[in-house]
Point group: C2
Chain length 145, copies 2
DNA sequence: TGCAAACTATTTGAATGCAAATTAATAACT
DNA sequence: AGTTATTAATTTGCATTCAAATAGTTTGCA
């Protein structure tokens, strides 16, 4: 638990450093990054890529739009949808920016040998999968209270 | 990275479940928990225990105080300090509440053998430690951009 | 066709979290 | 003693995040 908190904190600190570097917060950079990868995404699709709620992404996108880093065009085929794309300025900014958050991980993983990284990856995937199991049996949660 | 996001998300979902159960958010429960462990803490000390900024803890404590779950007494020895303690009500509420977030981890770790848990713990500690290294050498961060 | 159901995006309200600035109290140093 | 520096807590302003409610659009079914 302590290690996880420290990792999350370190990721946040990295995000702050990125913000100082290129003027974007972590989620903002992340959103631009996903748009650059995909070319064009609906808000829903972007929120899915980022594993965030649409209502959250609306705000992030709004701030990026206000700065002219992306365009918001209604989809002619489905007028509920808002298609998001990078502007030239957004694309340009992205060229000078680091990977979102992943840079910090890469840096940290530099100091670990390949076997450790592979093992960690397996363990984390297993843990993540286990934690997503719906906890209908509450005994485990309260047994140690 | 994906695994970490999923773990953080799962922890947040657990926090929501806890909130539905006992009417407290994760940080609120966590604060009460730390107070119960320590008996009495200054706001500064509590923020240190939780690895959060004092300005953040001020808000959390205020909400708990508003509900009568803790007391805020000025320290006679140093009147800058505000000493925090659980009320009887807060103590009572804590008895029926799960461990903050750790319950979710315990549940997940149930499904892993001891060696895997030990190995994961080592890897996470190592990773957390590596990520806290001050990144004066920015090459790692931008090499892959 | 027409109505209900489902979907997309946004709005609203609340909590968390930080940094920076403020206020108040203590410590330190001249 | 008096001025300065440090420390504790709060306030303010902003970004992120979610859930729930809403408006507009599309789909599906009768």
């Amino acid at each position: 638990m302590q290690s996880l908190r420290r990792i999350v904190k370190a990721l946040h600190d990295y995000s702050m450093r990125v913000e100082k570097q290129c003027g974007l917060t972590g989620p903002q950079l992340w959103a631009l990054w996903e748009l650059n990868r995909a070319g064009t995404l609906s808000l829903k699709a972007l929120s899915k890529q980022m594993h965030l709620e649409p209502s959250t992404v609306t705000g992030v996108v709004e701030r990026l739009h206000k700065r002219g880093l992306l365009t918001r065009e209604p989809d002619p085929a489905d007028r509920r949808r808002v298609m998001l794309s990078l502007t030239a300025e957004g694309s340009q900014l992205l060229k000078g920016a680091p990977h979102p958050a992943q840079g910090q991980l890469l840096y940290a993983l530099h100091g670990m040998d390949l076997d450790s990284v592979a093992s960690l990856n397996q363990s984390l995937k297993r843990l993540a999968s286990d934690m997503e199991v719906d906890a209908t049996d509450a005994r485990f949660f309260f047994a140690e209270g």
